[in-house]
Chain length 397, copies 2
């Protein structure tokens, strides 16, 4: 049984070969940049005014003749000593201008501009190349195109972008007790939950998951599903069945299809059964069926692997040190990743117990926004315990 | 000129009337729950086994006769003293069973189950209602349906959900110097950046923004745009022009159309010009044109208002106390929200300066993941300064 860090290391060692494609920047939101992106010109590439005001020539004068009003996209030409041109914020500054005087600091009379302060050369002029020279790095390879990266690329005038291809991901559930979300409830059955956990989080990450269905929990059906999906998908994810001890046909099926089992159990709770196997072209993640165990394994192991498979450089976990409010139960025999309600108080994050930590329970995940680790050997912990928090998002409700 | 907190208070005081609609849970991802949601049955509603094992009757015995193997969805009936039924994890436990003995702890011989430990009554049985009684709260009104809420609703068998209608949001830019993302670059012009900042962040929030175009920067064009959009949209957002001092026709236009100006400037940097006005049916946010100023105003003022307009209960800011690495420049005369590069070190967040804080610069936002506040009156700060961090997301690269 592998420890959490050992398992994660094995997962990160799986080689991922990712193709690239060139796309229009318009379609790049959520994609991962496959090569460093540089500026292709100076920013700005002309002298621009930082204010609405008068571009003037003659640093020692206190009055100027207004010779022109320059529109925002006009090329205002040049000015000589004693002359002024009205320019707008972001508009081009004429050649020969020593500074731009803010309109609210000037007095205008009969086409003359009066200014009674000291003129500082360069004042209110954005100089050519001051933001960036040509050829400077804007975005590093491996960066996901979020709204800020997207906007910066648009700002920089980038048209085509080399991005990593998205991994092709398929998912199936197993278990004859699983109902579809549209079905009427029947006692003893359960609604498919894992499908939605995975589909929705993958969607947030920019990955479309193909749901292959709920597969009958027998050797033939599972073997057939794996065989078919291995041909067309990079990553196969399953929930339930595949990780069960009793019907240990899974190893046999995987061996027959040339998969090497890398992991079959890790020391975390909830959800120690985890099957990770590497095939010729595909990787299989067999996650446990209980939704709480599925979700925990997904956040701890699958999501970082998906990020790596997207070509992201920031694929590893970001645990935040946080302090516990109240107490929290765990057993010393396992590495507990307890569901946590995270709240903000005076700018600090605090962790509260979600009441039930039972693997067979799931409803309280609706109010949880993180997993809080109580490492092996520690056991029950009390208020003030500082531990590693894996925050799901910043929507602290 | 309003201070940040004053402006935010005024914005939160704007009354938002939000309709509700009932939708199928399938379509609820990203929507906001409009009334508390409760369980409609017990969880579980039958006794279930927590393990693969033998449900047995007779707490003092050490051997049982195996009378049945019960499939995952079978209703196993009842057993009498001395009898055992094989049950699967999550499967129903027969009436009369005192406990389920884990398969790996038993010895099976000729249809007899041998067990040589003490049997604890209730062991490995998930009791009816132990997770939830009927009528318990699952999700509070005002909660956004993220992947965990969605999954918990699916798990609970919720079919129809009462959600808040999404606000109708329109956006236009102003400025004759603005190019479309598809256009060839021309010196002195700039590419539309604000459209993408806003569209992409709104999309992440679950709101579709209608882009009305780039409007000519004159009274007639802007008046016409506001008049048309006021009829059909709840929230109008503009960038540039509308907040400019010199061409102060905007107040006139707004007055003519029965808008009351609530805010026209706030003491933040970058981007003190901010116009917020309330009309009969719509609210206008006139944001400054420089992308850095636009983005800062959007995160500080517009996003919380959008969240509130969606019916979310968690609409206010979540500032995290964080410490500065290196130094950071600000002036004592304003409330600075500097762009920040946030990094994680030993589980703590640290803030680094993004080098340029100039309003006219934008490229470095590609690498920023937060805004770091240096309040009015403070000025330059050095390593170790603890301030309020508004983290954009947890993708710390």
């Amino acid at each position: 049984m592998l420890k959490f860090e050992e398992a994660l290391k094995k997962i990160f060692e799986i080689e991922t070969f990712i193709d690239c494609e060139e796309i229009h920047i318009k379609n790049s939101f959520g994609r991962v940049v496959a090569e460093d992106v540089f500026t292709d010109r100076m920013f700005p590439d002309v002298q621009k005014s930082a204010v609405d005001g008068y571009a003037v020539c003659g640093g020692n004068l206190d009055r100027f003749k207004l010779v022109k009003t320059s529109g925002i996209t006009d090329i205002p030409g040049s000015i000589s000593v004693g002359e002024a041109v009205f320019v707008m914020t972001g508009g081009m500054v004429p050649e020969g201008a020593v500074a731009v005087l803010r309109v609210e600091d000037c007095r205008v009379e009969n086409n003359l501009i009066f200014y009674n302060k000291k003129i500082n050369p360069g004042e209110n002029i954005n100089q050519i190349g001051e933001e960036s020279k040509k050829g400077e790095l804007i975005v590093k390879k491996g960066t996901i195109v979020n709204e800020r990266v997207f906007s910066a690329l648009a700002y920089a005038g980038v048209k085509k972008l080399n991005v990593f291809c998205l991994p092709k991901v398929a998912f199936f559930t197993t278990g004859d007790e699983i109902l579809n979300i549209e079905d009427e409830y029947r006692p003893g059955f359960i609604f498919n939950t894992n499908r939605y956990i995975f589909e929705k989080i993958a969607k947030k990450m920019g990955i479309e998951v193909i749901f292959y269905g709920n597969i009958k929990d027998d050797e033939e059906s599972i073997s057939k599903a794996i065989h078919e999906l291995s041909k067309n998908y990079d990553i196969l994810v399953t929930s339930g069945g595949i990780s069960m001890g009793k019907y240990d046909f899974v190893k046999k099926v995987l061996n027959e299809q040339n998969y090497e089992v890398l992991i079959n159990k890790t020391s975390i709770k909830p959800g120690s059964p985890l099957m990770v196997a590497q095939g010729e072209k595909s990787v299989i993640f067999g996650l446990p069926g209980y939704p709480a165990a599925f979700l925990t394994n997904m956040f701890l192991y699958l999501i970082p692997f998906l990020k790596k498979s997207m070509g992201r450089k920031d694929f590893d976990h970001k645990f935040l040190k946080s302090k516990l409010k109240g107490s929290m139960h765990s057993r010393a025999n396992s590495d507990y990743f307890n569901r946590a309600i995270v709240e903000l108080s005076n700018g600090k994050l605090f962790v509260y117990d979600a009441n039930s930590q039972k693997t067979s329970h799931f409803l309280n995940f609706a109010n949880c926004n993180g997993l809080f680790r109580i490492p092996e050997g520690v056991g029950d912990v009390d208020e003030g315990f500082e531990g590693d928090l894996l925050l799901f998002d910043l929507e602290l409700s």
